[in-house]
C-alpha cells in the first residue's frame, strides 16, 4: 500500500537518470538537424502482423525519403492516456502520435499542441471521403485517420438459430422479441463489459443516434446542450432493455476484453448470443478462444432502428484511429509520412491483414473477413457516422457521460438523471 523508502529512492535515481538522458538526447537532436530530419512516431501497435506492417512502413518511407529518419516507438494503448498530455506539454513531444479525433483533438488544438496540416494534405485529402471529417477542428485538418469502423452487434448465428430467431432483428421491437426468445431457450442474450463503462455507453449513444436528428447530435458536441427530449427518450428505451435483463450474471463487474470471462470472451466461447462492439471485436475474440481462431458462428448486424427516430436511415455510431503531427514536428516530412500511411499501398495492406478498415476510397475490397466486409459495406453507405460520444466530447464530459450511463445500468440513475449529470459535467471547468 505504501511505497517503501527504498523504492522512492530508486525511483528518484531513475528520474534523475532519465532527466540527464533527456538532456543528452535533446542536444544530440539539435546537432544533427542540419543534415536530415527525424520523425519520432508513437503508435499503439505492439504485436502481431500490425507490428510487421509498421516496420515495413518505416523502411519504405525512409527509402523514398532519404533525408527523413523515422523512429517508431510502440507503446501500450493504455499508456497513451497519460503519456500524450505530458509529452505534448514538454519541449520534446513525439512528432507523430495516435489520435482518435473528436473532443480530445479539439482540446489539443485549443492548447496549440497539434499542427495544422491543412495546406499539406489539401491535394489528396478528398481520397479519404467523409472519414477525414472526424479529425478536423473548425474545418481544418489536424490529423489523418488510417482506419475507421462502426459499432454493431456481433452475434452467434448458431445460438440465434437454436433460439428460433431466424433473421437478425432490424427494429427495436424485433430486437426485444429476439432477446425474449433467447432467454426462453436458456441462452444469455447479451454479453456486456460494464466494468469498463464505455460498453454501456455504446447502447445509450446508439439509441441517441437513432432518436436524435443529425443536427442535434452534431451540435451537442459544440454546445453541450442536452435539452432536446430525444436524449431522455434514449435513456427510457435503454431502461426497456435493462428491465428485460438480457445480460450475463454479474455483468456489472465484467471487463470488455480481458480473459475468457470478459464479454468478448463469453461471446467467443458460445456463452452469450451477442455483443454490441466495435469493428475490432473479431481480433479480440480470436485471442480469447482455445484455438486462437475467429469463431465460425460469428455474424454481424447493425444496431436496430427505432420507431419514430429522427435520424437519417443508416446513421451509425463509430470511430477510428489516426495520427496527428505535434506542434514541433518537422514539416512537410510529418505530413508526408501521414500521406504515406493513407496511400493505397499501405491502406490495402491494413485491410488485407485484418489490422483495420481502410479509409482510402478504392481500397475497401482488400478486406478479406466476410463479417468485416459487411461492416465496411454499412460504413461506406452510411449518410452519417457519429463518433462515440465519450470520444466526440471533451474528455471530462465524455467520462462523466460513461459514468452516468454506468449508473443507469447499475440501477442508480434514471434517464432524466443521466442527462442531468452530463449537463452538469459540461458546466464544470
Amino acid at each position: 500500500m505504501k511505497m517503501g523508502r527504498m523504492k522512492i529512492w530508486k525511483l528518484l535515481g531513475l528520474a534523475a537518470a532519465v532527466a540527464v538522458g533527456a538532456l543528452l538526447v535533446s542536444s544530440a537532436g539539435t546537432a544533427g538537424q542540419s543534415q536530415s530530419v527525424k520523425l519520432v512516431w508513437w503508435h499503439n501497435v505492439t504485436q502481431g502482423p500490425g507490428l510487421k506492417l509498421y516496420k515495413d512502413i518505416v523502411t519504405e518511407f525512409q527509402k523514398r525519403n532519404p533525408n527523413v529518419e523515422v523512429e517508431a516507438v510502440p507503446l501500450q494503448n493504455e499508456q497513451f492516456k497519460t503519456k500524450i498530455p505530458i509529452a505534448l506539454q514538454s519541449d520534446s513531444p513525439p512528432d507523430v502520435f495516435q489520435s482518435w479525433g473528436g473532443g480530445g483533438l479539439v482540446d489539443q488544438q485549443k492548447a496549440g499542441k497539434v499542427a495544422d496540416i491543412t495546406k499539406y494534405v489539401k491535394p489528396w485529402i478528398k481520397t479519404l471521403g467523409g472519414s477525414a471529417a472526424g479529425w478536423q477542428v473548425n474545418g481544418k485538418q489536424y490529423a489523418i485517420p488510417y482506419s475507421v469502423g462502426v459499432v454493431g452487434f456481433w452475434y452467434n448465428r448458431a445460438l440465434f438459430r437454436q433460439a428460433g430467431v431466424s433473421s437478425a432483428p432490424r427494429t427495436w421491437p424485433q430486437f426485444l422479441a429476439a432477446i425474449a426468445k433467447l432467454k426462453n431457450a436458456g441462452i444469455t442474450p447479451i454479453a456486456i463489459g460494464s466494468k469498463d463503462e464505455w460498453p454501456d455507453a455504446f447502447y445509450w449513444d446508439y439509441l441517441a443516434v437513432k432518436l436524435c436528428s443529425k443536427k442535434v447530435m452534431q451540435q451537442s458536441a459544440v454546445t453541450y446542450n442536452f435539452s432536446n427530449p430525444c436524449w431522455v427518450k434514449a435513456g427510457k428505451l435503454l431502461d426497456q432493455l435493462i428491465d428485460a435483463e438480457p445480460f450475463q450474471d454479474g455483468f456489472l463487474a465484467t471487463p470488455a476484453q480481458q480473459g475468457a470471462t470478459s464479454s468478448a470472451g463469453l461471446l467467443a466461447n458460445g456463452k452469450a448470443a451477442m455483443e454490441l462492439m466495435g469493428h475490432w471485436n473479431p481480433g479480440v475474440m480470436q485471442s480469447l478462444t482455445p484455438d486462437n481462431k475467429v469463431p465460425k458462428f460469428l455474424g454481424w448486424f447493425p444496431f436496430p432502428n427505432v420507431p419514430g427516430g429522427k435520424a437519417i436511415p443508416g446513421s451509425l455510431l463509430g470511430g477510428g484511429d489516426g495520427y496527428a503531427c505535434s506542434w514541433k514536428a518537422p514539416q512537410p516530412a510529418c505530413a508526408d509520412f501521414l500521406k504515406y500511411i493513407a496511400s493505397p499501398s499501405v491502406q490495402r495492406r491494413i485491410g488485407a491483414i485484418g489490422f483495420g478498415l481502410p479509409v482510402r476510397k478504392g481500397t475497401e475490397n482488400s478486406v478479406k473477413d466476410p463479417n468485416l466486409r459487411i461492416v465496411l459495406k454499412f460504413r461506406s453507405s452510411s449518410p452519417f457516422i457519429q463518433l462515440y460520444l465519450d470520444q466526440a466530447y471533451s474528455a471530462a464530459i465524455g467520462q462523466a457521460l460513461n459514468g452516468a450511463i454506468a449508473q443507469q445500468f447499475a440501477g442508480k440513475a434514471t434517464p432524466v438523471q443521466v442527462v442531468q449529470q452530463i449537463t452538469k459535467a459540461a458546466k464544470k471547468k
Binding site: M1, T82, A111, D249, G250, S394, F409
Partner: protein, 317 residues
C-alpha cells in the same frame, strides 16, 4: 533524570569552541545537503506545485490561465461521488483496525508457540505479502468470477446458498475487496507482531504464571502492554495504507460498479487521468495529502510520542 544526566555530561566534556561548533555544523550540512536537495526537488517542490495546480481549472494541456481559487475544493467536498469514496476509506480504516488487529494478533500468538511445522506456517502466512498487488488482484479476479473457484467450492461443500455476485453486487463488492486486502496484508501484521512477541522476555510470563495468572491474564497484562509499540506502529501503517488504497481496487473493479468500491485515490485517477481534469484531480490529491499529513502529525504527537521518545523526525515519511 535528564537534568542530572545533562549536568554530568557537561562537566566531563570540555566546552566546545566557536570554531568547533562551526565545523560541526559544516559537517552536518555537508552530509545532509544531498539528501535535502533531493528531498526538496522531488518532494517539497512537487507538493507546493500541486497546491498551485489545485487552484486552477486545467486539463493538463496548455498554460495555467484559468484561476478558480478554492472552487476545486468546494466541488470535491460537494460531490457525492467523492464523499462516497471518503466514506469507503473511513470504513476501511475502521475495519482494518477492528478486524485485522485481533486476527493478526491471534495468529501471531499462535505461531509464537512451539508447534509442529511452525516455520512452514509462518511462511504461508507471510507469502501473500510478498506477492505484488497486481498479481494478487488478477488472481482474485479469476477466483471471484461468477461460477469461479469460490462459487464452485461453496457449491461443492453444499453451501450453494452462499454464492453471491462478489464483485458485481453493489452492497457487497467493497467488503469482498476488504477480504482480499486483508489476505494480502495480514502477513505483514503477523510478522511484525511475531517480532514484537519475541522481544518479550519469557521470564515475565513465567513470573506471571507463578503468581497464578491464567494464560488470558498473562496475555492481557504482560503480552499486550509490551507489544504496545509494535501495535501502534502497525496501526499507523494500516491507517495510512487504508487511506491511500489504490492498486488492488483499480485492477479488480476500477472503483465500480457505479462507484460502489471507490476510494479517494481511484476517484482522483478517474478525474485526472481519465477525464483530464488535472487541476481538479490535483485538489483531490492535496486533500488526500492533507489527511495523511495531519493524521501522521497527530498520531506522532498523541500516540507514538512515548515510543519514539522525542525523535519524532525519525518516523516521519
Amino acid at each position: 533524570m535528564t537534568s542530572l544526566d545533562g549536568t554530568t555530561v557537561g562537566r566531563v566534556e570540555t566546552r566546545p569552541t566557536v570554531v568547533r561548533v562551526g565545523r560541526k555544523w559544516l559537517a552536518i550540512g555537508l552530509f545532509l545537503a544531498p539528501a535535502l536537495a533531493l528531498y526538496t526537488v522531488f518532494l517539497i517542490v512537487p507538493v507546493i506545485q500541486a497546491v498551485r495546480y489545485s487552484t486552477y481549472a486545467w486539463n493538463g494541456l496548455g498554460e495555467l490561465t484559468d484561476y478558480v481559487g478554492l472552487a476545486n475544493y468546494r466541488e470535491a467536498f460537494g460531490d457525492p461521488a467523492f464523499r462516497q469514496a471518503m466514506q469507503h476509506n473511513g470504513i476501511l480504516v475502521a475495519l482494518s483496525l477492528v478486524l485485522q488487529l485481533p486476527l493478526a494478533l491471534g495468529v501471531a500468538v499462535l505461531l509464537n508457540r512451539q508447534l509442529p511445522g511452525r516455520s512452514l506456517l509462518r511462511l504461508i502466512f507471510f507469502t501473500p505479502y510478498v506477492l505484488s498487488e497486481a498479481i494478487t488482484a488478477v488472481v482474485f479476479l479469476q477466483i471471484l468470477q461468477p461460477d469461479g473457484l469460490v462459487d464452485e467450492f461453496l457449491r461443492g461443500v453444499g453451501l450453494g446458498g452462499l454464492v453471491h455476485l462478489w464483485l458485481a453486487d453493489l452492497g457487497l463488492v467493497f467488503y469482498t475487496l476488504f477480504v482480499v486486502i486483508t489476505w494480502k496484508y495480514i502477513g505483514f501484521a503477523i510478522i511484525l507482531f511475531l517480532a514484537g512477541l519475541q522481544g518479550i522476555p519469557p521470564e515475565l510470563h513465567e513470573a506471571a504464571a507463578m503468581d497464578g495468572a491464567s494464560s488470558w491474564t498473562s496475555f492481557r497484562f504482560v503480552t499486550l502492554p509490551l507489544l504496545g509499540p509494535t501495535i501502534r506502529i502497525w496501526a499507523f501503517l494500516a491507517v495510512i495504507g487504508s487511506i491511500q488504497l489504490f492498486d488492488i481496487v483499480w485492477i479488480m473493479t476500477l472503483g465500480g460498479p457505479a462507484g460502489a468500491s471507490s476510494t479517494m485515490a481511484t476517484y482522483m485517477v478517474d478525474q485526472g487521468i481519465n477525464s483530464y481534469r488535472i487541476g481538479y484531480a490535483t485538489s483531490v490529491a492535496v486533500i488526500l495529502f492533507a489527511i495523511c499529513f495531519v493524521f501522521s502529525i497527530l498520531y506522532q504527537i498523541f500516540v507514538l510520542r512515548r515510543d519514539v521518545a522525542g525523535s519524532v523526525t525519525r518516523m516521519a515519511g
